[in-house]
């Protein structure tokens, strides 16, 4: 589904990704771990098509298409979803309005009819319940005055409504208490399915106690330096990232 080959990318003149390769197949959950500055967030942003990142080499194929031929919104419509580490506020635009515009855009791209407002409200309310957000969140401005945990749950709500092909969670666990972490993890686990790929980017192995990955990769200096299964995360937890530096050396 997603095939990254020898990807290099810069922010301004600084090379952040430096020969990264990774393949994600439908049904798989990949965890990407690594120290600060390793390029974890850059990977998500490059895949989602954010401005300010220059791809200098390598290829990324998504469902057989060259990902870099697509604009950011086209990637979203093709099924790439990035859950943000720091979701931004949009004052005055209600969550409901935002979600409806988003779902409509994605349905239209799939050749489906936009949902009727009634059906959409019903669906949104049901999903709100699943992520433990009160319904009046739908009326509030997008992320406006939300706590850290509420913002993350709001990201999860969007992911559930959009039903993406590939979910990229960028340090979704940061700033979450254990209860919120479990709600988010449950949501992600519910989204696991044989035709959906998930990439979990995280700093800590804690999240992986709740979302059990099929693969764990260690990212350092812009490339994947070590891959393994769940046990790799535990090793990392035990030895710290400096262990990887030694291993690689």
């Amino acid at each position: 589904m997603l095939k990254i080959d020898n990807l290099t990318a810069q922010v301004e003149d600084l090379t952040i990704l430096n020969g990264l390769s990774l393949e994600v197949k439908p049904g798989e959950v990949h965890a990407i771990m690594g120290p600060n500055g390793a390029g974890k967030s850059t990977l998500g942003n490059v895949l989602a098509g954010r401005d300010g990142y220059t791809v200098t080499g390598g290829t990324v194929e998504f469902d057989g298409k060259n990902l870099f031929d697509l604009e950011a919104e086209e990637r979203a419509r093709a099924g790439i979803f990035l859950a943000f580490q720091y979701p931004v506020e949009i004052p005055g635009v209600s969550n409901m309005e935002f979600l409806k515009a988003s779902v409509d855009a994605i349905r239209t791209a799939r050749g489906e009819e936009p949902m009727s407002s009634m059906d959409f409200i019903k669906l949104a309310r049901a999903k709100c319940k699943e992520v433990d957000l009160p319904q009046d969140f739908l009326k509030r401005g997008v992320n406006e005055g939300f706590s850290g945990g509420e913002k993350k749950r709001n990201e999860l709500l969007q992911m559930m409504l959009l039903e993406p092909r590939l979910c990229i969670l960028d340090e979704t666990d940061s700033g979450l208490d254990i209860d919120a972490l479990q709600v988010v993890a449950k949501g992600v686990n519910d989204l696991r399915s044989p035709d959906r790929g998930i990439i979990v980017v995280t700093h800590y192995q804690r999240l992986l106690d709740f979302i059990i990955p099929d693969y764990v990769h260690v990212l350092a200096k812009g490339r994947i330096v070590k891959s393994g299964d769940k046990s790799l995360a535990l090793e990392l937890e035990k030895h710290g990232y400096s262990w990887i530096d030694e291993e690689v050396a």
Partner: protein, 478 residues
Amino acid sequence: MSEHIEEYLKSEYSAGWVTDVESLTIPPGLNEDVVRLISAKKEEPEWMLEWRLKAFRSWLEMTEPQWAHVKYPKPDFQALSYYSSPKSMEDRPKSLDEVDPELLRTYEKLGIPVHEQEVLAGVAVDMVFDSVSVGTTFRAKLKEAGVIFCSISEAVHEYPELVKKYLGSVVPQKDNFYAALNSAVFSDGSFVYIPKGVRCPMELSTYFRINEAKTGQFERTLVIADEGSHVSYLEGCTAPMRDENQLHAAVVELVALDDAEIKYSTVQNWYPGDSEGKGGIFNFVTKRGLAHNRAKISWTQVETGSAVTWKYPSCILKGDDSIGEFYSVALTSNYQQADTGTKMIHLGKNTRSTIIAKGISAMKSENSYRGLVRMNPGAEGARNYTQCDSLLIGDQCGAHTFPYIESKNPTAVIEHEATTSKVSDDQLFLCQQRGIDAEKAVSMIVNGFCKEVFKELPMEFAVEAGKLLEVSLEGAVG
């Protein structure tokens, strides 16, 4: 991001066409004879002519205001024509059926309901084309309720007592340079009188269209709400695209007697000039309302047009417990400049005012809020709340805030809040990452920013205003 937005902002002005009608336009120039000619064309009584001449003589001794945060070439007042009327209007059609269909089509094309049987029939419309009112719908129906809604020219003939009593009572002839000019040469506009205790049964609206080249439009609107009455009034305006600047200097006076309520909304979409800053309307307007005891005056404006705007709809809260409100969205793009805001003058006890002003600047435009809140010594227990928010799109535009606060009563309470924000790359990216294209995203973000003001507009026009913002920002992100 800014280059994307620039693309998006390069939209076409959709009301920029010209109606092909034969017009009678008086030669350019301004002197006492021109004032007399305008008055004669309207067959005005002597008192009206005298009133104009008094204004004209004052104007000659006045100079243009320089304090606004706008730069523009000074209009050459001798190069303008002060009166232009479609030829067909010379015969004074008695009803809408007699009006040249070409004129009515102009309004239909702009989406204005000109026939009473149309679906959006909850609105009565006065149509002002260059210097004349071409027709007013629903007059008979309004008359049943005792409501007078006609052109000001007719009012001078039909209701001279009301006109004499109230014209210039809120904005005196000598009030300011442009108000004096307007008082001398005003050609048409709307007149509204709501009798005691009457709730006007429908929305009233006036639609102003400048069509002729090298003319100015100087309309005069007078709304009188008698004791305990209620009226909601809306004005809209557009003009063709022309390379030279055109002057629009209007005066609007509102009188709300005891316990009356006037809601005055404006959707201003004068031609803003092209992307190089060429052409467009100079919109120099004086709008003021006088509120008596327990009366309420509410101004709502959505300003997307004009090359230069200079406009401060104000309230004089003379009566005790009277209320003034000002809700404004001003959007400037390309080389537009807006210096707009309000004045709330608190004279009576326990008077209250609210100001919510939203300025949106894009491209190379300059957008200023200028507002005065004055608590006079008699304004016991008066209150004001002001909130002014600026939103910047791109990095070459300017937003400015000039609040003036004067309090001469220690019991008065004044609150002022101001914010400045940007449509950020992060917000745009969030929308795009959720499949929403950048164009839709910008309009959604801008609409969200304006929400508090849009909810004050009459329902039919809130939708229109939202769309207008969308059009004004169209093509901005690609």
